[in-house]
């Protein structure tokens, strides 16, 4: 008998103690099984449901860009995944999933460049976020494969994807916390029996439920404004979730032995993408009430 873990048994455990646990085996399964093709073969709503479900598990897999952004940009072609969505205006900065990506969609504003990533193109960046962040070591070729006039479409579906991912991760973090506060006792009674805790957890639950419906509607309608609304809603609420969920998990929640950070630091990473809540809110204002300086008014 060997009482210590064998090497192959030890890998998942050690990764769980990291800030991010990218599950490459599960990623392969998702890609090979065809699940990530749901938007092409069924509809974007099916893909959004998949994204939300995948975001509920502690390990991270790249689903949002492959399942929602790629089909919108390349309906007849399946680019090699995992895929990173990259803001062209911040090309030199670290981006989510870039450390493991085989393809990057670089949103240049007007157009989108599709970049194949080879070994050595990208370096991993250490971060508290629960995604494999990476940045380009050398400037990618943004001219070889360009999808013209696709910038707005990419932003729209990046928003749907982040909202769906938020919905799943937030719900999982809330479920995890609810379980914890039922079991953990303080002052002789469960933490979850205190009204101050209960009310705030309900408000967290409201955020997750609203996020879920908004994300799904945005996937269903394919309407840019619905995507703005979904992103704005989730991104403006990250701070509240972060504070409350970590507060209720107490000191355990600041260790990486606890699972909480796998979800909460995914939410943090999503908080600023595609312009963040402020950018989405300005886009909503443009869409609903006309651009700044435009006194015309949309019929509601």
């Amino acid at each position: 008998m060997r009482a210590i873990l064998l090497d192959h048994q030890d890998i998942p455990q050690s990764q769980k103690l990291d800030y991010c646990y990218f599950h490459s085996a599960l990623q392969d399964v998702l890609q090979e099984s065809g699940f990530l093709n749901a938007a092409r073969e069924v509809d974007p709503l099916a893909a959004a449901l998949l994204v939300a479900e995948a975001a509920k598990i502690p390990p991270v897999v790249e689903v949002g860009a492959s399942a929602l952004i790629a089909p919108a940009l390349m309906p007849d072609e399946v680019p090699e995944g995992p895929i990173a969505y990259v803001d062209g205006a911040r090309l030199d900065k670290p981006h989510r999933n870039l450390a493991v990506a085989k393809t990057a969609f670089v949103n240049l504003g007007e157009d989108v460049a599709v970049v194949s990533i080879d070994e050595g193109d990208v370096e991993r960046v250490e971060t508290i976020y629960a995604y494999p962040f990476g940045k380009f070591v050398r400037k990618p070729d943004l001219t070889r494969s360009v999808i013209a006039s696709a910038g707005a479409t990419a932003t729209q579906w990046a928003r749907v994807a982040l909202a769906a991912e938020f919905a799943g991760a937030a719900q999982a973090a809330i479920d995890f916390t609810v379980d914890y506060v039922k079991q953990r006792t303080v002052f002789g009674r469960p933490v979850g029996s205190f009204q101050a805790v209960q009310h705030r957890l309900v408000q967290c639950s409201r955020l997750a439920k609203g996020a879920y419906y908004l994300a799904m509607k945005a996937a269903w309608s394919k309407a840019p404004e619905d995507a703005m609304v979904a992103a704005c809603y989730v991104q403006s609420e990250v701070q509240k979730l972060m504070y409350d969920l970590h507060q209720f998990n107490g000191a355990m929640g600041v260790t990486t032995e606890h699972l909480l950070h796998f979800w909460t630091y995914r939410l943090r990473a999503l908080q600023s993408e595609t312009g963040g809540a402020h950018g989405a809110a300005l886009d909503i204002a443009d869409s609903r009430w006309g651009a700044a300086g435009d006194n015309g008014r949309r019929e509601c």
């Binding site: 979850g192 009204q195 209960q198 009310h199 408000q203 996020a211 419906y213 809110a281 700044a292």
Partner: protein
């Protein structure tokens, strides 16, 4: 999951809007909305308006045909509520009649009571008030102290009710009174408001005049036939009746409408180019949209006859948070609206002053979701 409106719902909404446009007088906003939907003026108008709605089949669409309805599903009823609230609720108090008083009578009333009341409610000419809250029993309704004591073939009622909107003009009161010493030994009485011994006094408040009334019952006699259901069955009746109101007022709909008005006012002042104001408005719109979808999910559950859960309470929480953001937005960027500058935004603000209190305090909604929805333990 499917988020579109089928043609029949789109057509129905158009019918409702057409009716509103045709039936409201030209001075509706200036004269009636200024007075509030609980005002005597608007309550009187509701008798005309609801009668005309009834003629068009738009007053009780979700009721069974035998009681004057068209047996349409809850979606139509909900669309109707959205459009009416957005128009300033020209049904006045009668939204209560069709939403839950009528359905309660259908379920718990005897043949005589159903015959007596349901046709009247469906005609749009009868005003009811809700005799629930008391000075010492609001959200904790079972603490009520108004007493009904059996004396032969009648009951003698003594006590008082408070926050009784529409009481001054009501024909009938759906009254809760204690008929035993046990906490939930409560009964429902269908009481004519012109019964001797009933008096009503009104007082001003932050909402507009007409909402805040107190009703006193001094040796009020009512026949046993005025009892709804069995003696002591009042608690179950109320829980059932209010389950029709679980989703409550479509605050997201009136909120988005008010937000549009606020933006229009800011544009008129040339101030809506400010990115901070634009961003805040966009965020509030997103909050209302979230509350809207959560509410729609509850309506859909109801249409599909799924067992009730706490999603309705959660949707109320969501809507209330958005309402508070909008009220704050109005005051921060359009303070003049509450000083004669914008009649409809002033009305929106005032109607929503008690939004977190009426129909069960927000804290109780939070308790219910925490304990029944999330399964968190009750405080021992």
């Amino acid at each position: 999951m499917e988020f579109g409106w089928p043609k029949e719902h789109v057509d129905y909404r158009r019918r409702v809007r057409e009716a509103i446009n045709e039936l409201l007088p030209p001075d509706w906003e200036e004269t009636y909305v200024r007075e509030s939907y609980a005002s005597d003026l608007q309550i009187d108008f509701s008798r005309e308006f609801c009668a005309a709605l009834a003629e068009r089949g738009l007053l009780t669409p979700h009721w069974p045909a035998e009681y004057g309805g068209s047996e349409s599903e809850d979606w139509q009823h909900f669309i109707l509520g959205e459009e009416m609230k957005a128009a300033g609720e020209p049904r006045g108090p009668q939204y209560m009649n069709v939403n839950w008083i009528g359905p309660a009578l259908m379920k718990y009333g005897n043949d005589e009571q159903r015959e007596q009341h349901l046709r009247g409610i469906a005609s749009g000419k009868v005003i009811w008030c809700q005799g629930f809250s008391e000075p010492g029993a609001g959200t904790d309704l079972a603490a009520l102290r108004t007493k009904a004591v059996r004396a032969g073939d009648k009951y003698i009622i003594n006590g008082s009710k408070i926050w009784t909107s529409y009481a001054r003009k009501a024909d009938w009161c759906f009254l809760l009174a204690r008929t035993g010493e046990g906490r939930k030994e409560i009964s429902v009485f269908l009481l004519p408001m012109n019964t001797p011994g009933i008096s009503v006094s009104s007082y001003p408040g932050l909402p507009k005049y007409g909402h805040l009334n107190e009703v006193y019952f001094t040796d009020v006699e009512t026949p046993v036939s005025g009892l709804l259901g069995e003696e002591g069955a009042g608690w179950d009746i109320v829980i059932h009746a209010l389950s029709y109101e679980r989703v409550g007022v479509p605050r997201y709909h009136t909120g988005l409408h008010a937000l549009d008005m606020a933006v229009a006012a800011l544009k008129k002042e040339g101030r809506f180019d400010d990115p901070i104001i634009r961003s805040r408005a966009g965020m509030i719109a997103a909050q209302f949209e979230g509350a809207k979808l959560m509410t729609y999910s509850v309506v859909d559950q109801r249409v599909k006859k799924l067992p009730p859960n706490t999603d309705a309470n959660l949707s109320r929480v969501a809507a209330l948070e958005a309402v508070n953001e909008l009220m704050n937005f109005i005051v921060e960027f359009l303070p003049d609206c509450l000083a004669g500058g914008h009649l409809l935004l002033d009305d929106y603000y005032r109607v929503n002053v008690p939004a977190g209190v009426t129909g069960g305090a927000n804290e109780v909604q939070l308790d219910l979701v925490a304990q029944r929805g999330l399964g968190l333990p009750r405080m021992s």
